[in-house]
Amino acid sequence: MSEIFLFIVLLYALSGVIPLCIRKKRIWSVSSIIMGGGGILLTLFSLPCLLVSSAKTILFQGEWVTFPICIGIDRLSALFCILLGMLSLAVALYTPGYLDRMHGNRRRYVVSGFIPLFLLSMLLVILAGTTIAFLVFWELMAILSFFLVLTEFEEEKTRYASLFYLAMTQISTVFVFLGILLMCVSTGSWEYPSHLSGSDPLISLSFLCLFFGIAIKSGVIPFHKWLPHAHPAAPSPVSALMSGMMISTALYALLRVVTGFYAPNAAWGFLILAFGCLSAVLGVMYALKEQDIKGLLAYSSIDNTGIILIGTGLWVLFTVFGSPALALMAIAGAVFHAISHGLFKGLLFLTAGSVCQAAGTRNIDEMGGILVRMPWTGGLFFIGVLSIVSIPPFSGFIGEFLIIMSLIGGLSELSPLLQIVMVVVLSLFSLTGALTVTTFVKAVGLTFLALPRSEGAYHAREVPWPMYAGPAVLALMSAGLGIFSGQIFSFLGYPGLLPDLLVLFLLLLGTSVLVYVAVWSYASRKTRITRTWDCGMRAPSSKMEYTGSGFTEPVVRFFAPVYRTRICVTREYLDEHQCLFRTGTGSIHLMKFFEECLYLPAARRIDRYASLVAALQNGDIDRFVLYVFCTVILLILILGWSA
């Protein structure tokens, strides 16, 4: 068992080191093959762990400077390992083609070398068995992803994004470190604790620290600001991994902490639920307004994080208030959604990356007509969309369905106060679902359908086959997980949680065939391709189509208090009575609520404090000697006093 695991680690490490050391042309295709092999092996290796037992299998044990390091696999980590394996395979297929078309020479070697190492660090986070190992790999993951975000460093926006990301991810590490230290103080060991409880304030404090550390990493609103900057700035395979896997890794940590480390506590349940609702609703609302397709997907990751948080929070509440059946439903929904989100978000980012590369832009308003030009990529993107807007029987549906069922179930089982909470969460949750549909109708409709809106989109061509074979793996998984979800759940020992979607799928298929055959044989088959509507002009141009901002304008009007759009109008008049208008400007601003009310005040305060400290350090040698002298005097005094 552990030999196979070490071999997998070796494969990942090898495929990371090869392109960093050997500068041969297209060396990344070799390293990708190794990485893909590692991914397949990892999936096969994790499957039995998923089926056989829920007990932990130790794979590696050792010590690092007196700290115990342990690596083991159990059911929860096996699930995320499978996700990681599948994403590795997809990215391995996709990356060589992407790198071939990328500009810049040396950075391509760096990207192809760092991707497997980044994957390896995430794998080790998932499999870590002691808190200190977890922390080390967590930090490694942060640093590697920082360098990957920095790939296109010559762009001002990328530098800003990666620095922002570095700051936030370090704050996250600080919180996680603090939480782990506090936990060590209260339990006295670096092992993963199990179901800590009691009124010790250290325990609550350590939970809060761990929660905020993880929340920053998984982009929970209001700690999300780095995510929509960093994810789009990275090269597409990296964005796919960051959104598909790094967020899932953070969520794995959350699930592990909430369900394993601590005994459920109602207050924490409410906290998680509140952050979940906030992230879900605001995440999708910002996604709706976003014009950058990769930014839209990044915001939608925040919304999905929120959904998983809602499921986790519900698990805590149901466990505390004694409805184990509903609790199981909620946590099953959360875990399933984490896995399926990883799959379909990877799929969406990879296909969107191909489109951006082919069209030479990330702006939705400059795309259009891509489906005709890139049918494979477009079709796969569409499957991802069906999944993310939770159309049965695709995989995105299962998680949302289980969470909705548990919410409605909670409505009829719990006490009146909690019933009100359930109604509120239920309405917010379904609002999220509905807005997701609107968001992705915009994403698909304006990017892939109708006429191209720019030269780049007009000349877009289909990518080489490995670049859609990679996403196709994820699309198959996405559809398969949904269709066979009932079977999968009963195989894992939770029968009857879900209706049988296989029957639904077969019926949908059968009915479609019947309808098609009936129409084909009885209706007229005459078909003509023509101009259906040209408004009396010679030919409709893409200027006449709806734009992204136009498409979402009604929703923005409906939810004006949330978006806080500011309309700025300046007018100049020719006369003093302000009758004769001379000139003026008008503009619509989206107020960046969190940036203006949370980040900037905090930054200003730190800045002010830092300037006080900076006054002490003026670089003058004499001054520093004085400091040293004062310190020594002070020490002597204190020591003398205490003696």
């Binding site: 489906l371 309808v515 209706a523 409906f558």
Partner: protein
């Protein structure tokens, strides 16, 4: 048992397909009469469909595969949804899950396809229609879920079959929760089928149209399929309202007499509801687009009220 549910599926789907165009025409007739016109013949719906199926289909030269697939997929999705909603007979076993949440998400799937179709032909009207449709659906969706949650809460079951079965036994005619639930369910029909005051199915004026805007570029058999699926959707939503507030006559076991009685009674109940919808439509003017959320809030309020009353009772 499985044979019985197959018979049910076939009968139910066939019945829905047959009566849906009739219900559409009843509403049209009522509206015409209120306006002092003669109105179309009650069978005109069938003639229209037959005509459209015989006509040539035009595709926009800019349209992709969505325009080719969406008409078939939209109708198939609604036909599968039709298996979930029993009209006149509740079988003992469900062929496919009749979970009300799955039903709801199938409706979402249909809407997604039509909204994409609106964008596919590169015309402004399509974009306008799908933008409006998706904006409205973003607000009606939470209301729908809460209405259905109230329904589940009152009847204690997720399966539409069981909800109807409970309705036949526990509901006395003037139960307050039933009356309260009927208001949001009625508003749901109005919204989902695009009727005045939310949308106007008769107009092709760019200021007002929502649903028609998306279908402006379809023709021939595709248009017929969309009209049929629209009618089927209306019948299904009507069936949910009818079989909960007046469940009388719905057959519980397989016998020819009971089935015929159930079918005829459903036809009568449906016609009465269509008359009410027609009168309702005639009594209101089209609302301003940005005022529509107020209507949804009424539905939301009533379903929350249902839950609270049920908690207190």
């Amino acid at each position: 048992m499985i044979g019985e549910s197959f018979i049910f599926a076939l009968l139910n789907v066939a019945f829905v397909l047959v009566i849906s165009p009739f219900f559409m025409m009843v509403i049209k007739k009522v509206k015409a009469r209120v306006q002092g016109r003669q109105g179309p013949h009650l069978l005109q719906g069938y003639y229209n469909l037959a005509k459209l199926f015989r006509k040539e289909t035009l595709y926009s030269e800019y349209a992709g595969c969505i325009s080719r697939i969406a008409p078939y997929a939209a109708l198939s999705i609604l036909l599968v949804a039709a298996i979930m909603v029993p009209l006149f007979w509740i079988p003992e076993q469900e062929l496919v899950t009749a979970n009300i949440i799955v039903f709801l998400y199938l409706l979402v799937a249909g809407r997604l396809l039509i909204a994409l179709l609106g964008l596919d032909a590169a015309s402004t009207f399509g974009g306008m229609g799908s933008s409006r449709e998706m904006s409205l659906s973003a607000i009606i969706e939470p209301v729908t879920v809460v209405v259905f949650a109230a329904l589940v809460y009152v009847t204690g079951s997720f399966s539409i079959h069981d909800i109807f079965r409970t309705a036949t036994t526990i509901f006395p005619a003037y139960n307050p929760t039933v009356l309260l639930l009927s208001v949001p369910l009625f508003i749901l029909i109005i919204v989902e089928t695009g009727r005045v005051p939310v949308d106007n199915p008769e107009t092709h004026l760019e200021l007002t149209m929502v649903h028609e805007g998306m279908l402006l570029d379809t023709s021939g058999r595709n248009l017929a399929l969309f009209e049929l699926s629209h009618a089927v959707k209306q019948t299904l939503l009507m069936a949910i309202l009818l079989n909960i507030i007046v469940p009388a006559g719905i057959a519980l076991e397989l016998s020819v007499g009971a089935l015929i009685l159930g079918g005829v009674l459903f036809l009568l109940k449906g016609t009465v509801l269509c008359v009410i919808i027609g009168l309702f439509e005639s009594a209101y003017a089209k609302m301003r687009f940005f005022q529509i959320p107020n209507l949804f809030m009424i539905a939301f309020f009533f379903s929350i009220l249902t839950i609270f009353i049920e908690v207190m009772l």
